[in-house]
């Protein structure tokens, strides 16, 4: 077969994600029964986990109310009730791990087989080795990038669904337990209904904004770090595959390797600084969130409008809702990792598509 000319792939985000999903959806389209069963199982686990979380939240209230009343019988009863709740929570966490990893394994298998089939057909891997830019190091893309690109969407989407359901459910808890509060401002008394809901929205909005301000370069830096790592691996691979070459080439290759390594290290340095900046916000939030909840509830508790149990329940619900709001912030890094891996898988697939198109054109020209 005549060697093809160098293929240059200049692609936009939409094109890459479309191509990735076209290939990745093969599992959901071709193995509908298995995929649907796993999806239903995982959603059920999320719902049951939410149920247990609500039960634990209510348990919190009853336990602390009993403590406040010094009611030993109820404290003992609540302590006994905690055991099945904790057991349920532990079993569901284990079931969730099994479900997620089974779905991830099945999806990875389907996508990997799909890519390998296209890559090996008509010895295309030989052509790609030298000709198509953007498809360097295909073995790594097929093994590691496919894994990351199929692992992350399952974890991220389940966490997303769980966050939304948790936020909505615990809004109810905050609204009913927190109730309204009277605030005196400028000589007038204003009643704020469901003030804890507004409090958590304001606080979460502030934390998310701070995170965006402090870490708005994080996703692009992670992507570039991953890309630099991939280029370094590709350069090392080329160096290894090069047959005994002239000294001059060896020196050039060595310099290229050093340059690629330098790029990797510089991106890691910037990644480190981005993490330092975002840690200031995330760790600050870890310390402040529960305290803010206690402070917001304190006026009602001190006025006697809220019991100790309600205070602990509302504070726990506040932290849970705030955590749910943090989905995007918590998953910044995984989203970036997923995006760069999905891009690399898509680039390889598009390079194979180009080869296929050229094969078809050559066949037409010769017939």
């Amino acid at each position: 077969m005549r060697p093809f000319q160098q293929i240059s792939l200049i692609l936009d985000e939409r094109q890459l994600l479309t191509r990735f999903w076209q290939a990745a959806s093969v599992f959901w389209r071709m193995q509908t029964g298995r995929a649907a069963t796993l999806a239903i199982f995982l959603i059920t686990v999320v719902l049951l986990q939410l149920l247990v979380q609500v039960a634990l939240n209510v348990w919190n209230r009853h336990f602390f109310d009993a403590l406040e009343r010094k009611d030993a019988a109820t404290v003992w009863l609540q302590a006994q009730l905690f055991v099945p709740l904790a057991a349920g929570s532990i079993l569901l966490a284990a079931a969730s791990v099994w479900g997620r990893m089974t779905a991830q394994r099945s999806w990875r298998e389907a996508l990997t087989l799909h890519v390998i089939e296209k890559w090996m057909e008509k010895d295309r891997f030989r052509q790609l080795n030298h000709l198509a830019r953007g498809s360097e190091n295909p073995e790594y893309r097929i093994s590691v990038d496919v894994r990351i690109a199929t692992d992350a969407p399952i974890d991220l989407s389940l966490a997303f669904v769980s966050s939304i359901l948790t936020a909505l459910t615990f809004f109810g808890v905050l609204w009913t337990i927190g109730g309204s509060i009277d605030v005196n401002a400028f000589g007038r008394s204003v009643t704020i209904p469901g003030y804890l809901v507004f409090g958590v929205i304001l606080y979460s909005g502030m934390i998310t904004s701070l995170m965006i301000i402090f870490g708005h370069h994080l996703t692009s830096v992670i992507e570039r770090t991953n890309q630099a790592e991939a280029e370094f691996r590709a350069a090392a691979d080329t160096f290894r595959q090069e047959p005994t070459s002239q000294n001059r080439h060896q020196v050039d290759r060595r310099e290229t390797l050093q340059l690629k390594l330098q790029a990797v290290l510089l991106w890691w340095r910037e990644f480190c600084w981005q993490l330092v900046r975002t840690t200031l916000v995330s760790h600050g939030n870890f310390l402040f969130a529960p305290v803010v909840a206690w402070i917001l509830c304190a006026p009602k508790y001190l006025s006697g409008a809220m019991s100790l149990g309600e205070l602990t329940q509302a504070a726990a619900a506040f932290v849970v809702v705030q955590g749910a709001f943090n989905w995007f912030v918590d998953n910044y890094q995984r989203l970036a990792d997923w995006r760069s891996s999905a891009h690399r898988v898509a680039t390889l697939l598009l390079a194979i598509d180009e080869l296929e198109a050229k094969e078809r054109n050559e066949k037409k020209a010769t017939s």
């Binding site: 370069h217 570039r224 630099a228 340059l259 910037e270 600084w273």
Partner: protein, 142 residues
């Protein structure tokens, strides 16, 4: 003396090192090797690259090429004909020593201060390290 290697980072001190190295090369008929160590990219530059999809390797390579071309023009003006350009990457001290060993240079010429006072205080000065560990004579130009 057969080979003189001059390390430059484009600074004024490094330019004085080039002048000294080039004058010696011309006087002794030695080959002149101009070396720069690439990779000094600031955080702000990296963030701009990350947001604009610019290529870091290309940026570092072209910055190093620019420094070397300027250094070559300077050496040529002083009448040196045999000039080789080299780029190293990584820790400046280690990379310069590596280049000296590979090129079997007889003399290394460096400027006294290339990096900031703070980094020199924290990491030790490059010229100090070279004077201690380089496998050839070292000339440190003030």
């Amino acid at each position: 003396m057969h080979r003189i290697i001059v390390a430059t980072d484009g600074s004024t001190t490094a330019n004085r090192a080039i002048d000294a190295g080039a004058s010696l090369a011309k006087a002794t008929g030695a080959d002149l090797i101009l070396l720069t160590i690439g990779g000094s990219v600031t955080g702000a530059e990296l963030r701009t690259l990350a947001d604009t999809a610019g290529d870091l390797s290309d940026t570092m390579q072209s910055a190093a090429d620019k420094i070397l071309k300027e250094a070559r023009r300077r050496a040529q003006r002083l009448g040196v004909r045999s000039i080789t350009l080299k780029t190293g990457w990584g820790d400046p001290g280690d990379a310069i020593i590596d280049a000296v060993q590979r090129s079997k240079a007889d003399l290394l010429v460096v400027g006294r201060r290339g990096q900031s006072r703070l980094s020199a205080l924290l990491l030790g000065s490059v010229s100090q390290k070279l004077a201690s560990f380089a496998p050839c004579a070292v000339m440190v130009v003030p």
